[in-house]
């Protein structure tokens, strides 16, 4: 490579920098430093004028490195990198020095020291620039198909959305029928309709869609690869089927807890809400006069702290239905906090209350008690508001139990290398701003396998996951981070320390295929997975693995420049 010829551009930023830092003095100082071929001051380096000056001087002075000392790389680095690229210089041969936020703006009372500091910061930047390398921004192709795991409402919404956008979708469902948990329900709020009718039209669309390939009943057996390029094999009724996908959406749902409380399973007239729906659906419920429902059964307790979000509404819906079937019936809902969040739920709760369903609050320190030998005969509960103990006659006790994670989450988590969080639900990349994607690129999540969600939420999450998944599919190419790790296999000893510290599983120990090193076990970086944090580079004992753009020699040169060492 040609000897370094560094160009230095120092910004006045109007008076923001120039009013404090003696910019001309910094320019003169820069000129005196090794490898500096050119230095100038600009009123605004980011202005049209400043940018063209950078471009012209790269050509005129044959510069092969550029240093700009102005504001912060967090906002302006792309601008200056583009300027370099426009002038035919690799954008990674650019280095940013912050003398505004980190100097002039914080040392307004001390011009002399601010100037000295600016000089030193510029010197450090130049020292690093001398060792900068050109970097390529790799792109890898995205195979234009998606795999959606789970054929409930979340999975079907995601699949349909992507298919309607024109992408091939492999929908993998473990049951022999699409529809998921919804199929088991009797009525759904707010329309109080038989859900099978509603779901049927969606199922038909999915089944008849030319872009959707249904794998059913089928389970994923193996998955390898990375964003854009996953190899998948599923067991489809005993037959192994393999296909490729660019992205994966996990929407496997959840299951309802069967409690070991309130003598469930022991007394015939104790049901879960789901059992109740099943019986209503099958027309097997029979007569009832006094119905008691208990909420938060097995939820919001020390062993299972979370609130399952939708059980309150399920209870209210079914309570209303019981009252509808038998207006003479007495229906009680024993609850803790009632989670009727939002507009419609709260409205419905009011309506149901007005329709005569009685709501009684109990406390976890004073749980309701089931009375009866063969069957429940009554339920005793302490009413907090009335401050008295009530004994409610009961011929049907219905328990609202939470959704719990599916048993096969762990297996799926290992296969896809995606994490499971507290409680056994899948863990998204960021609970606030990246709710439907995993930290691993190219894999997305939606519906109750992430967290208990009702129908509308599951559908929205299915769509949202599809939106995120459509991005790489539509782009066709994924840009690979350029600031990635790179291994020198000659000096790598294959100890695996880098692989242990890598948060993204981007490093593997492999037999080298490089001539002269065949068979040697060395670290290999999968650049498609590497996010460029540099943890590996800091952990490697002999510098065999380096982070591009932040190499040992670059950082060391800065430290030495600051301390006046060569």
């Amino acid at each position: 490579m040609a000897a370094p010829r560094i160009g230095v551009f120092i910004c006045h930023c109007g008076t923001n920098i120039g009013g404090i830092v003696d910019v001309p003095q910094v320019v003169e100082y820069a000129k005196s430093l090794p490898y500096v071929a050119y230095a100038e001051a600009n009123m605004y380096t980011c202005s049209e004028e400043g940018i063209s000056s950078i471009k012209n001087n790269i050509k005129e002075h044959n510069l092969n490195r550029v240093v700009v000392a102005s504001c912060t790389p967090r906002t302006h680095q792309p601008l200056f990198r583009n300027a370099c690229a426009d002038a035919g210089l690799n954008p990674y041969l650019f280095e940013f020095v912050n003398i505004r936020e980190h100097c002039s703006w914080i040392h307004m009372q001390n011009r002399r020291e601010a100037t000295e500091k600016a000089k030193e910061l510029v010197k450090m930047g130049i020292a690093k620039a001398r060792w900068l390398d050109a970097q390529e921004e790799f792109e890898s192709e995205v195979y234009p198909a998606a795999m959606v795991i789970g054929g409930g409402v979340a999975g079907m919404s995601a699949a349909l959305n992507l298919a309607n956008q024109g992408f091939e979708v492999h929908l993998v469902e473990k049951e022999p029928k699409l529809g998921g948990r919804l199929l088991k329900l009797n009525r759904i709020f707010p329309i109080n309709k038989d859900p099978s009718e509603l779901v049927e039209s969606i199922v038909k669309t999915v089944e008849g869609h030319s872009k959707i390939r249904l794998h059913m009943p089928a389970v994923v057996k193996a998955a390898s690869g990375y964003i854009g390029n996953f190899d998948i094999s599923v067991d489809e009724g005993g037959k192994e089927v393999s296909f490729k996908a660019g992205v994966i959406i996990v929407a496997t749902g959840a299951q309802v807890l069967k409690p070991e409380l309130y003598r469930y399973g022991e007394l015939a007239n104790v049901l879960t809400q789901l059992d109740l729906e099943q019986r209503l659906k099958d027309g097997e419920l029979g007569e009832f006069q006094n119905v008691v429902m208990i909420n938060c059964v097995g939820a919001r307790i020390p062993e299972r702290l979370y609130c399952s979000r939708l059980c309150c509404m399920t209870a209210i819906k079914n309570a209303a239905l019981m009252k509808e079937i038998n207006p003479e019936a007495k229906v009680y809902v024993l609850h803790r906090d009632l989670m009727t969040y939002g507009v419609e739920f709260e409205e419905y709760y009011r309506e149901v209350k007005e329709a005569g369903v009685r709501f009684i609050r109990y406390t976890p320190s004073n749980l309701p008690q089931v009375i009866g030998a063969e069957r429940v005969e009554s339920v005793r509960v302490y009413d907090e508001l009335m401050d008295m103990e009530l004994e409610l006659p009961c011929d049907l006790l219905v328990l609202a139990t939470p959704l719990i994670p599916n048993d096969d989450n762990e297996e799926l988590s290992r296969m896809l290398k995606v994490p499971i969080g507290d409680g056994g639900f899948f863990l998204e990349a960021h609970v606030k701003l990246r709710p439907v994607e995993f930290a691993m690129d190219g894999i997305y999540v939606g519906g109750s396998c992430r967290w208990p969600a009702d129908i509308r939420e599951s559908v929205a999450q299915g769509y949202a996951a599809a939106s995120r998944a459509a991005i790489p599919l539509r782009q066709g190419l994924v840009k690979v981070e350029a600031i990635t790790a790179t291994v020198d296999p000659k000096i790598c000893k294959g100890c695996g320390t880098c692989a242990l510290v890598c948060p993204f599983d981007a490093i593997e120990l492999k037999e080298s295929e490089i001539r002269g090193l065949e068979g040697k076990i060395v670290s290999e970086v999968n650049t498609a997975l590497c996010k460029g944090c540099g943890l590996c580079a800091a952990a490697c004992p002999n510098g065999a693995i380096q982070q591009r753009g932040f190499t040992d020699i670059q950082l060391l040169s800065m430290v030495n420049a600051l301390s006046g060492k060569r």
């Binding site: 967090r74 505004r100 040392h107 460029g532 301390s563």
Partner: protein, 145 residues
Amino acid sequence: MQDSKEVQTEFKPKILAFCCNWCAYAGADLAGVSRFQMPTDVRVIRVMCSGRVPPELIIRALANGLDGVMILGCHPGECHYSEGNYLTRRRAHVLKRLLSYIGIEPERFQLRWVSAAEGAKFSAVVKETTDKITALGPNRWVDKR
């Protein structure tokens, strides 16, 4: 006596701060945008993650005679790369104790958490560290022979 006192007040330490790109560097930027005034003794080197800073570099900086070195990263649990700062924390504990063992005052090596919103904290950390190191005086470890 008066002489040495004068030398003391004139001592300006040279302190290096490695800031992670996502939190601490952004926090330092915010301190700038907010015009929080602070001592001029700290120089920032930007790294993508606090976990990128190898112990070699800190040891080298202190052996070169720099008066203090800081690593500033995201608060635990907020690392952009999810766990980098936890590894930093482990390494830093071991390194700090080792440095102290051979006689480099513990104040000269600091690990602190500064979020992107903590401009004020960045400035407070800079002030506090500068004060502490100024009080210690220059890093004269290599002159002890």
